[in-house]
Symmetry: C2
Subunit: 138 residues, 2 copies
Amino acid sequence: MTSCASDESDVEHARLVADVFARACESRGVLEHITGRWGTLALAALHEGPFRFNALRRKVDGVSEKMLAQTLQALERDGFVHREAQPTIPPRVEYSLTSAGEAVAVKLRDLIEFVEAGLPGVHAARARYDEAKSGRAG
Amino acid sequence: MTSCASDESDVEHARLVADVFARACESRGVLEHITGRWGTLALAALHEGPFRFNALRRKVDGVSEKMLAQTLQALERDGFVHREAQPTIPPRVEYSLTSAGEAVAVKLRDLIEFVEAGLPGVHAARARYDEAKSGRAG
């Protein structure tokens, strides 16, 4: 259950054994960076184009400076986000997607569009669920 | 920025204005149920077929009983998971995906497969990042 690829040189081996269901597998941590509260929104925002830090923070409404910085750092380290610091005064730092980040962002946008379009269905399901609960309680 | 569909009867309106980037939009909460630490893994597991609670808990290695129960309840309320309690002694409770849950799970499996297959690339990116950091520090 906890088997997981750890040798970066062995791509075929990774395909066979990386397993997010195993708690010790590093792939679970990578998935969490992508699907975390702010990771998903940051990647989806960057799919629209490069952003400077403060503009990205305005786009991802509600994120704190600290959380956005941590999120971007994890995504940069994993190879999904590219950070470009231009040697100007004051320094201009821009974030964009790498090709791996682009591939992930496309999948996340697809998921987000499904969720946004399906919101009325979620409202209906919640109403049914809450009614059934109150019926059982009454 | 905070506009968001709230009327369940108005599907076209929802398509136009639901916006996960707005912190007040309910779609963000729905997205978090799906992409949360355990939501993603529970939905991806149920894509393999119905599970009883304890079997699902073994599959989603590392989840506590309490967290799995909360995760499944949120997903059931949102209409992604169906909970079937059979009137046996002891009661047999089985969880499966609804059609909306199935659609979400397909997208999540796709994302998970990308992450699992891309793990060697992440390892390489991390090594480059850590080397650059230690180079700057040294």
